[in-house]
Symmetry: C2
Subunit: 202 residues, 2 copies
């Protein structure tokens, strides 16, 4: 466990190219900055934005919508800034995902409701919106998710995620609309839960 201080000093000043150089990135980085840059590098390919890691597709941002339309045909799209995301059969056991697309402001947004058991014996729902677009584009929007009924309202407002970063870390940090099964029951009607979704520009 002897540190080679000379080598460390060299490594801390040498610049490395980003691994997406061949895709067009011209960034040159210190060893210590490389991982973080590549994680958010705009030349990193986009992965399929569908929740769950079952689809391994990767490509450019321009190809994402045609991938969804051809490979994930079952996803419904609604037009408008203010729509209802209806999740049916929320009482189905196990981990389940509900997905919908919303089109407005010339952009496509993916709405995701996920039922998960992050903690043993405690099922929770996580709802979130991601833009089919870059992080920079996502900064221009805000979304609101709202559960309504029986003199109660639960609302979450935030900036949409970009599909480039994805929703997994946000769900993991509860940085989204989170509610448990008893709240879901309170707002559901016959096992179906309607979530009001409103997108706006900021």
């Amino acid at each position: 466990n002897i540190r080679n201080l000379a080598m460390e000093k060299v490594a801390s000043t040498v610049m490395f190219p980003c691994k997406y150089t061949t895709s067009g990135c011209s960034a040159s980085l210190l060893h210590t900055e490389k991982v973080e840059h590549e994680e958010s590098c705009e030349f990193r390919p986009y992965s399929c934005p569908c929740p769950g890691a079952s689809c391994k597709w990767q490509g450019s941002l321009e190809q994402v919508m045609s991938h969804l339309l051809h490979v994930h045909k079952s996803i419904t799209t609604l037009q408008g800034e203010d729509i209802v995301f209806l999740a049916t059969d929320i009482n189905l056991p196990g981990a389940v995902d509900w997905v919908m697309m919303q089109s407005c402001f010339g952009h496509h947004f993916m709405l995701i409701l996920e039922k998960q058991e992050k903690y043993d014996g405690h099922q929770q729902f996580f709802a979130i919106v991601q833009l089919i677009g870059s992080r920079k584009q996502a900064e221009n929007f805000a979304y609101r998710l709202e559960l309504n009924g029986h003199r109660r309202r639960l609302t979450w407002e935030a900036t949409p995620r970009s599909i480039h970063e994805g929703v997994a870390s946000a769900i993991n940090n509860s940085d989204c609309l989170v509610f448990d099964t008893s709240i879901a029951q309170l707002f559901a009607d016959n096992g179906n839960l309607g979530i009001n979704v409103t997108i706006s520009m900021v």
Copy 2:
């Protein structure tokens, strides 16, 4: 395990007086209705509304405020329909309660934030408002709790509970503002969490 149908038939038609008869209730009830009535009987004495069952005080609604002022002197009161409930040191370990009073519309409301581990290894915060008043009076109001910051907002709107029913069952059913420790971190500033509380008449 032989059922005495004759006795059951008698029991199902005999009327019993409410156990709060001596306090003024004149209700007469079937055996099957008695428990539920007594639970919500307006002549049932009020218990101390402070969270946690440590104070065993009981009395009439008219005596509650003077009990709080004399025995629970440390509770702060703020005037106004729209105030900030500041919970300090939310990172303190274990189960913790924060309590405050809000006075408006000629009524007193108790604001409660509770940190609990309902599920093993998963700490959650529960925030709720109860009226120092009867269930009927509580129906005339609505409250809104709001966490704000970093381009995010979490809002819960509902009818205040009456201190006659208390908040334990609502917290148990998550029928209140619920958020976990990572969301608390997101909105907290230096370990202190400000919750915007707005009371309105409906």
